[in-house]
């Protein structure tokens, strides 16, 4: 493939498409094809975000929100993995739970946020609990999927090398299932993020989600768009990092990243 300045042709086209889309939005807003009270130009969003970051007024909220996401996703990944392994070992339980898993994400789990608040008060705990609830099922599903796809010949290889159960799990089964587990992690991040932000919209006392809702009700469009840009940038960056990493592993193993 031809490449220029370290980026492939496809990469340049993609960049052009993205820049073009943003540019088009900018032009439409500036020429008032789009009502500036509805959508502000991207450059103003960026400026607003820059001012917010420089003023430092959002630091505490950002820490709260992104910290909650990080904690929730970590717990969800570990918990989902452990539950996935346990459910995999009990095929009957699994068959019963399967339809439940398949529908789990159709109902927004964060509607239970008020229940959590009633139990834990208005701290970060309820937000984290909702994030865990949202992320862990994706991880359970991914774990089950990964364990299903461990080739049976690997257990035979393990026995030829006279490996114990722990070593077999750590050195053969885990790496064999790793791509699927990684998909689970990516989904847990996505769902955890959505759940935390949505909980903050509903009635959290602080956090970036709360601030967006507040800015909206306050008709403070600039602040609202600045904060939205912040969330989108952070989420996209995290996802892109995970995606690139996944693709690198996937290419090595001759598989398309999911």
């Amino acid at each position: 493939m031809t490449s220029f300045l370290g980026m492939t042709k496809v990469g340049w086209i993609r960049l052009a498409v993205i820049v073009g889309a943003i540019g088009l939005l900018e032009v439409c807003c500036r020429l008032e094809f789009i009502n500036p009270r509805v959508v502000i130009p991207p450059s103003m969003m960026a400026l607003a975000l820059f001012n917010i970051l420089r003023s430092g007024t959002m630091n505490a909220d950002m820490l709260r929100t992104f910290g909650s996401v990080a904690v929730a996703v970590s717990i969800a990944v570990v918990l989902g993995f452990v539950l996935g392994v346990a459910i995999h070992a009990a095929p009957r339980l699994r068959r019963t739970l399967d339809p439940f898993f398949a529908t789990y994400y159709a109902v927004p789990i964060f509607i239970f946020y008020p229940v959590m608040v009633a139990i834990f008060g208005l701290s970060v705990v309820p937000v984290i609990m909702i994030g865990v609830a949202a992320g862990s099922v994706a991880m359970i599903i991914a774990t089950l999927n990964g364990l299903d796809r461990i080739p049976r010949v690997l257990t035979k290889v393990a026995r030829v090398h006279r490996m114990n159960a722990f070593d077999t799990a750590l050195r053969l089964k885990l790496p064999a299932a790793a791509p699927y587990l990684f998909t689970g992690v990516k989904l847990a991040v996505t769902y955890g993020f959505i759940a935390v932000i949505a909980s903050e919209f509903i009635l959290a006392p602080a956090g970036v989600g709360h601030e967006i809702a507040f800015a909206y009700n306050d008709f403070n469009n600039r602040r609202m768009y600045g904060l939205m840009l912040l969330l989108l940038l952070v989420a996209t960056c995290v996802n892109m990092i995970l995606h690139t990493w996944d693709q690198r592993l996937a290419r090595r193993r001759g598989r398309v990243a999911l």
């Binding site: 496809v10 086209i13 993609r14 498409v17 993205i18 009270r37 509805v38 959508v39 009957r92 339980l93 068959r95 019963t96 739970l97 339809p99 439940f100 398949a102 529908t103 994400y105 159709a106 109902v107 927004p108 509607i111 946020y113 008020p114 229940v115 009633a118 139990i119 990516k186 991040v189 996505t190 993020f193 959505i194 932000i197 949505a198 919209f201 509903i202 009635l203 989600g209 967006i212 909206y216 609202m224 939205m228 969330l231 989108l232 989420a235 996209t236 996802n239 892109m240 995606h243 398309v256």
Partner: protein, 247 residues
Amino acid sequence: MTATRRIADLLILAAAFLAFWYGLNAVVGSTALPGPGPTLSYLANFVGTTRFLESLVSTLTSFAYALLLAYAIGLSLGVWLGAHHLSGAVGEPILVAIYSMPKITLYPVVLLIFGLGISGKVAFGALHGILPVALLSMNAIRNVPPVYLKAARTMNLSRWQVIATVLFPATLPEIVSGLRIGLTTTLLGVVLGEMFASKRGLGFLMINAISTVQPEEMLTVAIVLFTFAASANGLLLWMEHRLHHRV
């Protein structure tokens, strides 16, 4: 024999779930989480009321429109990106990025653009549904083994015959998976739209129940939504199984 055992398993699971619910209710109290008894009797009364029925109709209508949009746009996008190599290579990472974006942050934009009417929640629902449909149908087309197309060429089929007799059946199972996942995410999108950008529908009932502290009503609506999603999903899952196991 196995059927009765499966039903027994389901009953055991339901009993365990109810026991858990009772336990949680006993620990946190009825204002936080009402028990199964009061919730279910509330449900029995509530599903007959016009308020519920109007909301249900409103949600189903928006859902139908949103699903239609999501399927139409998602499939066209998926077929285009799957069939045209360069577009696929350029577009896929962009789609993946948008797919994993928390689109819920965009609700104020939807509100500002569409106001509180039905179009806002339809747009929000379609926004959630398009991407999984597009991504899965794109992969379905890419994964068609080239040997199928070669075999079709040796049989002198026209372009449309190839599409109708080879490409379509070969991609159908995966496309149906995409449609199924798209269905759940579209429903989620519609409900989110109703919660934050609407004054009607089950989502609105739910957010209203939350802010006026009526946990029975919130749970009732959640149960209805879950049941609806589970049945629709089950139907498509059944179709998917049949398609995967045909030979």
